[in-house]
Amino acid sequence: MMGMSLNILDPNSFGEPMAKYKVEVTYKPGVLDAEGKATLSALKTLGFNVSDVKSSKTYVIDCSCDEKKIDEMCRKLLSNPIIQNYSILKL
């Protein structure tokens, strides 16, 4: 009940309820991940027995929209399909 009344007061809530999504953008296999490469080298320097490091960029998005809209955000801005992949997780 509580959540329902809050949603009614929130002008952004019409249509879809407010939700939190985690978007993770990674480099496609074979595309140079400079951050990962540098981190791998730095960890090795510190004596850690690490064989590979991949970096990714994470966006946590609060939005009164469905996952389809988040997917559109990924395609339009957050990733470049030529070199990057993305995944969406509803929190």
Binding site: K28, G30, V31, L32, D33, A34, K37, A38, R75, K76, L77, L78, N80, P81, I82, I83
Partner: protein, 265 residues
Amino acid sequence: MKRICIMRVAGTNRDYDTHEILSYLGAASEVVHMNEFIRGRKSLLDYDAFIFPGGFSYGDRIRSGAIWAKQLIYKLSSDFRKIADEGRPILGICNGMQVVVEAGLIPGLRGISEYPEAAMGVNASSKFECRWVYLKNFSRGNCLFTKNIPRGAVMRVPVAHGEGRFLLPKEEENELLRTLDRNDQVVFRYCDEDGGVAEGNYPMNPNGAFSDIAGVCNPDGNVLAFMPHAEDACFSHQHPDWTRKGLKGEMAGILIFKSLLSHLK
């Protein structure tokens, strides 16, 4: 007189250098903030050519050039499409190249694409590459920005970028390269001092760009995405050897701007 718009946003820093060169050449150029167009105080349609200069637009957040590119597409949509479709010259230098690639103007095989069809990857060296390199002009005449540059000419120009690696979709890169070559869209390739193509070798190719591509245009030749800083290679006093070699006068980079002005005449 034809008007040239040098567009800027937060983080652009090569705008006034570009303006200086065009003023020296007697052109009517104006540095205009993108917001002037978004707020409707100025219109893109009032300008005859556009330059997206170098810099770090929006702090290179998300990907270099991505935010500016999407603003152009979604905020100035119809006018931006119109100037590109009408064949008005558009030059993207360094960060400007990242912008025109992210905006879907390059390679532009089917007009402006909804999503990027190429990418500017992180340099293969993982470093910010800031030094002088050699380029060879491969244009057969399609690109208007090479009108005053002899075919096969070797130019020395500086680069200063962290994400300058021009990439096409891996699975179809060779087929796309054949198309670009056939369309006369590959304008400049990184090379050695004598014009021998870098063939991916570092340091001649400073960023690992696919097929050594340093400059690439759209099929109509009116949009050039150019990674090195042409505006920093226009006069002998900008050249690292200008006292050692006693260089005088203008340098090769100025030919790109002269080509634009020849086209606009």
